[in-house]
């Protein structure tokens, strides 16, 4: 494939003997701008959840409920603070016969999808992502569990990737 704009390549942090890692894979990473998209999403859901919980806690008036709300707030805070690392852990690689996808730090997930298994490719853009010029690419197979969603791709990259994937799938077409 040709140049991929600002999409970074290389190893993904953190790697160590004590973690899952697949050797000899040249991972492509998603745009760092995706961190903003992710954080905005978490902040919105944090505000809504904590707002609702606070109102409930105010009317119940029990200190224990307020404890619960603050625990929730801490969890949200940690999640938001870890976003940059989590986004850095997202990677994909186009190998000879399959698309390899990874994400997650605490819960690591690697998925390999043979190109011939592609049923369709979706490109989605949320409002914040669109403002930053990012797209999300979804690779759909006949199995719902596949769940390969590559977020934070530059729009041009996403479209190029889609075309590449479709072409690859066409050349390796298989039944169900």
């Amino acid at each position: 494939m040709s140049e991929h704009g600002t999409t970074e390549t290389g190893t993904i942090e953190p790697t160590s003997e004590e973690r899952l890692s697949i050797a000899d894979v040249d991972w492509r990473r998603v745009s760092p701008k995706y961190i903003v998209v992710d954080i905005v999403g978490y902040v919105i859901s944090a505000v809504m959840t904590l707002g609702a919980a606070s109102i409930a806690a105010y009317f119940i008036g029990q200190p224990l409920v307020w404890m619960g709300v603050s625990v929730l707030a801490v969890i949200f805070l940690i999640t938001i603070l870890l976003t940059p690392r989590r986004v850095r852990s997202i990677g994909y690689a186009l190998r000879d016969d399959d698309l390899l996808f990874r994400r997650g730090i605490l819960y690591q997930r690697f998925v390999s999808v043979p190109y011939g298994r592609m049923q369709l490719v979706d490109i989605n853009r949320g409002p914040v992502a669109r403002w930053l010029g990012l797209s999300e690419l979804k690779f759909v197979t006949a199995a719902a569990a596949t769940g390969v969603v590559i977020p934070g791709l530059l729009e041009a990259d996403a479209e190029e990737l889609r075309d590449t994937l479709v072409a690859l799938a066409e050349s390796r077409r298989a039944g169900l």
């Binding site: 819960y107 690591q108 997930r109 690697f110 999808v113 719902a144 569990a145």
Partner: protein, 511 residues
Amino acid sequence: MTTVPDTGFTDGEWHRLHPLTPLLKGGIAFVAILGIIIVNLRDIVIEVVFGEFEGDTEPLVWLLESGYLWLGVLAVIVGLIVFIVGFWLSWRMHTFRITDEVVEVRSGILFRTNRRGRLDRIQGVNIVRPFLARLVGAAKLEVNVAGQDANIKLEYLGSAAADELRRDVLRLASGTRVAAAEQAAVAELSAGEGVVRSGLVEQRVTELLAPELDPDLAPPESVVNLNLGRLIGSIVLSGFTIFLIGIIVALIIAATRSPFFLVGFVPAIIGMGSYYVSKFTRSLRYSIAGTPDGVRVGFGLLSTSNETLPPGRIHSVQVRQPLLWRPFGWWEIKVNRASTSSAQGAAGQANTTILPVGNLSDVHKVLALLLPDLTDAETTALLERGMTSRGGDDGFTNSPKRARVIRWFSVRRNGFALLPSAVLLRTGAIWRELVVVPLARVQSIALHEGPVSRALSVATVRFHTVAGPITPTLGAIDRAEALQFFRDSVDAAVLSSTSDTSHRWRSTERA
């Protein structure tokens, strides 16, 4: 022109369904309504004749008194005509055709629908004969393609025509040339001609009593004989029964305090009874046999169902042994498949249950039908170890000892084996289970590691297949082994999906 059994349906022309279709589909209700009206009229006639009106406010009586009788009669007649014309029209407009490439149905009077399925995408062909339809010699044929509610229904066809049509559809789907199919059909016809014309009643009776597998295609014997005792035993020793016993105990305890409270549970008890009965009758006359066009599963006593799964349509197979079945050595086989049929399977379960209950030798026979690649002696032994082995070094790569924390009893048994065309996942020491995933059908493969697994240096491998009762997952595998397994099975999956030709299962033979 319509459904004469020896008309070839596969000539690419449009054909109609069985003439009794409207009656079987919705006409029964209409007949019932008509019956109610007639019964009502009879009462009125009696009342009129004996001249004793009781001043009823019934609409029919009111009509009679008010002198608008002719209007009422007219309305009924018009209604009748509209009904009959409607049914007749819907039958006229409901046509289907089968070409070399597709099976197509068009129907509807005002809102036309047209459904077309590609023959090489067929996931299964199902013939269902509800009791009433069986009595008049009709059958429902369902061609399943992948997807939710993606069935092409031919409702209803003549019983013999349905069998013939299924054979032709499967033959076309298999990639055999049409000419060869026609030759075979002609030979078939001349052979069976003398039998069919022996009186309508006799024919009905023969069809009603005939075994579900039509003898010219399947080997006449089902490979598995489900004996009555085992069937009853398997139903009684189910998880539902344990649940039921729990409820009954709770009820008895409650009833010692206030017995009247039990009355409210009578409908529930009747419901449970009918659950057992229907489960039982649906599993009766179960049969499974291999045909050149796939595995054929039939069952049912009054309403029968008979389904053919062409080769390469099975996305994963699970052999499972519920705890209560263990003393008897019984197993159950389920599959994942890409289509969902509206018809239920054996034992009133979803039609993903291929073998409701069977012993080890039954399981081997059924597995040989479902997975024809895995029939050599070595693999059969491996499969058996996958089911019954207590674990250890027996061809499977098992969990490391340190994984005992998350696999208390099954750590020795929990493992995998990678064959060239399939993976075997063995789990559970108490609820024993073996999942076989044909690699040519795997959609994607995932490798997971969460915090607990990481602390133990183990990982989880998941095989993604089409949705179904089985989720092929194997956890608690040594990290390095899991990585190697992941890589190897990815390579094997790519390799077997490119070499797989089962969507046109006969084309290779002929070429």
